[in-house]
């Protein structure tokens, strides 16, 4: 082994160690836990079973929760994309002070802690909160709106916090598109919509792709927002998993649910990657 190769290995060591200790070990532990039997005096038993997986797969309730998590994550991702694209467009055209201000505004949802942000939503949307008070005061509504503890509010709050993850990569991609390409398309007869559809949108895909993956993965795994704003009536996969781990202390079942969620997420990401591979290959030039 040359000196250079040894040095490279040495430099890689901290990262490898970190990933091993904080990712490989816990996941192995989790997988192992998911095959253990339930215990009566401890959170898990001594022998092994595949029973938790067959129970999850055969019980409609778990399917329903999984589906709710998936639909919510998809909806959040889609709304994030729709909200973020125009913002990213404006950002990509901004320079100097305006650009700095836009970056600060975009990053602002991330500057508050997760609890503060969600309690903020709770206060604002409460039955006698400022939003309802204002609407009542203005005479726009007659009875206070029930916003808190609805799935709609969960989606709204997740979109709010995940928009930066969509805006920033799309902004980057848009900045990389030479303005001459748009001029070229217009000289060939394209109107603004056609130039957007045929040139800008496909060429911004290298920004859309990471944005979509990031927001989807973050929202399907989000715990605090659904737990605080979704109320007691509906469960999402993360809230259900935490309930099994911390509430009923059925660690093997909770682990199995976590593994199912991770696998489903991975399948979604892989499917999206495969479906868009050709577009990605073309637009990356």
């Amino acid at each position: 082994m040359t000196r250079g190769a040894r040095l490279r290995l040495l430099l890689a060591l901290p990262a490898v160690a970190l990933i091993f200790v904080f990712m490989v070990l816990p996941i192995t532990n989790m997988v192992e836990m998911s095959f253990r039997t339930l215990g009566t005096t401890a959170p898990f038993g001594d022998s092994y079973t595949t029973g938790h997986y067959s129970r999850i797969l055969s019980d409609g309730y778990y399917w329903q929760v999984l589906l709710r998590s998936l639909v919510t994550a998809l909806l959040v991702t889609l709304l994030c994309l729709l909200v973020s694209y125009p913002i990213a467009w404006h950002m990509s055209k901004a320079h100097g002070f305006k650009a700095v201000m836009l970056y600060a505004l975009i990053a602002s949802p991330l500057m508050t802690g997760v609890l503060v942000r969600n309690f903020g939503w709770m206060i604002v949307t409460a039955l006698n909160g400022p939003l309802n008070e204002t609407l009542l005061g203005l005479g726009i509504i007659e009875r206070p709106l029930r916003l808190l503890f609805t799935q709609g509010l969960v989606v709204l709050a997740l979109v709010h916090v995940f928009v930066p993850f969509m805006v920033l990569p799309i902004n980057n991609a848009l900045r990389n598109i030479p303005p001459a390409l748009v001029e070229a398309s217009s000289s060939m007869g394209a109107n603004r919509w056609q130039a957007f559809r045929d040139v800008i949108l496909p060429l911004s895909f290298p920004g859309i792709y990471p944005g979509v993956i990031l927001v989807f993965v973050l929202s399907i795994a989000a715990y605090v927002t659904p737990a605080l704003l979704g109320g007691q009536m509906v469960s999402y996969m993360p809230t259900l998993i935490v309930a099994e781990l911390n509430g009923t202390f059925r660690w093997p079942l909770g682990s199995a649910l976590a593994i199912v969620l991770a696998v489903v997420t991975l399948i979604c990401v892989a499917a999206f990657t495969l479906l868009t591979a050709k577009l990605m290959e073309k637009s990356r030039a």
């Binding site: 070229a184 217009s186 000289s187 007869g189 045929d198 030039a285």
Partner: protein, 352 residues
């Protein structure tokens, strides 16, 4: 087929006057070059023509009808960009066919016209490649084919050769000229390279600080420039201050370096003038009796067909001249220089 008239075009960016009253014309089938250093307004003029930029004032008309209100996508002009501006996510055929696709042409017509355009610029066989998979010269041909396939009324080229190496530049330059003449299309060509402008153009507009300094044929621009700026920008030049200028029929009687000459020049010169002497207007005198200047050969470059020679004069000035290749000259030689007054040109002296 299109005759173009640009009149008094104005454009201001903040305090910077990009176009300060640009006027130009192009007859049908002519190639008009906008020549000048960066910042002179040549690209701005082209962008106004293309419709990418709205001028603050002035007019642009084609065959008599004003086009300034017409958006770029309805002007029907072909544009070739400096960096080609090919769509990286489309194949060569996709790039060339994009405009036809927007026009919703039938498949067979599209295929035919794409094939024709590719033959025109000698690109056959590259239909399915992506822009990043072909060379710079090939990319420039795609850009040209893409601009021509829609049979535009006007072809606009913005420094199309700037990013090519010298050999390719020559090749693509002739291709552009051939294709332009063959199709009889009116074209505007922006460049900062005077040899490109001279070789290709029917008319050249030398631009300076947002204005057209001179608009004439390449020959006239080179031989009869209206001011020193134009002469400087269009080739090697020597300038000599003249004393005593007297207008006579068809020219001027002047005194330069103690000698009396009769030369042609810009009409209307009153007092201060300088004489333009291109390197080929000077020669080394066989015997010193015919020489106007005496100097020492300081630099010599053998160029094959001729030699480029720089002679230092006793008063400190220097003259550049072209010497026949077979004439024996050496650095350090004393040389007598004479003026071929047929090739001299008198211009008003610019007061600094």
């Amino acid at each position: 087929m299109a005759a173009v008239e640009v009149r008094d075009l104005r454009k201001r960016y903040g305090s910077f006057l990009a176009l300060d009253g640009v006027s130009l014309t192009a007859q049908t089938g002519q190639l008009v070059t906008l020549l000048g250093p960066s910042g002179c307004g040549k690209s701005t003029t082209l962008r106004c023509l293309a419709g990418f930029l709205d001028p603050d004032g002035g007019s642009i008309s084609i065959d008599g009808s004003d086009i300034l209100g017409v958006p770029a996508n309805r002007r029907g002009f072909g544009v070739v960009f400096q960096n080609y501006a090919l769509f990286p996510h489309m194949t060569v055929a996709g790039n060339i066919g994009y405009g036809l696709k927007l026009q919703k042409r039938p498949k067979t017509e599209m295929a035919e016209r794409i094939a024709d355009a590719m033959r025109l610029v000698r690109l056959q066989g590259l239909e399915d490649r992506y822009p990043r998979q072909i060379s710079g010269g090939q990319q420039q041909r795609v850009a040209l084919a893409r601009a021509l396939v829609l049979r535009p009324r006007l072809l606009l080229l913005d420094e199309p050769l700037a990013n090519l190496d010298a050999r390719l530049r020559d090749e693509v330059r002739w291709l552009i000229r051939d294709v332009q003449q063959e199709s009889g299309i009116t074209a505007f060509y922006v460049t900062h390279d005077q040899s490109e402008a001279m070789a290709m153009s029917d008319m050249v507009a030398v631009m300076k600080e947002g204005r057209v300094a001179q608009f004439a044929t390449p020959r006239e621009i080179y031989q009869k420039p209206v001011e020193r700026y134009v002469a400087d920008f269009t080739g090697e030049a020597n300038f000599l201050s003249c004393t005593r200028v007297a207008p006579v029929a068809g020219g001027y009687d002047i005194e330069v370096a103690g000698a009396h000459l009769r030369v042609a020049g810009v009409p209307g010169i009153r007092d201060r003038a300088e004489l333009l002497l291109r390197p080929e207007a000077l020669s080394i005198a066989p015997d010193t009796g015919q020489a106007l200047f005496q100097g020492r050969v300081e630099k010599l470059a053998f160029l094959g067909a001729s030699q480029h020679c720089e002679v230092r004069l006793p008063d400190g000035g220097a003259l550049k001249l072209a010497v026949q290749a077979n004439r024996p000259v050496g650095v350090g030689d004393q040389a007598g220089i004479r003026i071929d007054s047929e090739h001299a040109w008198l211009m008003p002296e610019v007061r600094q």
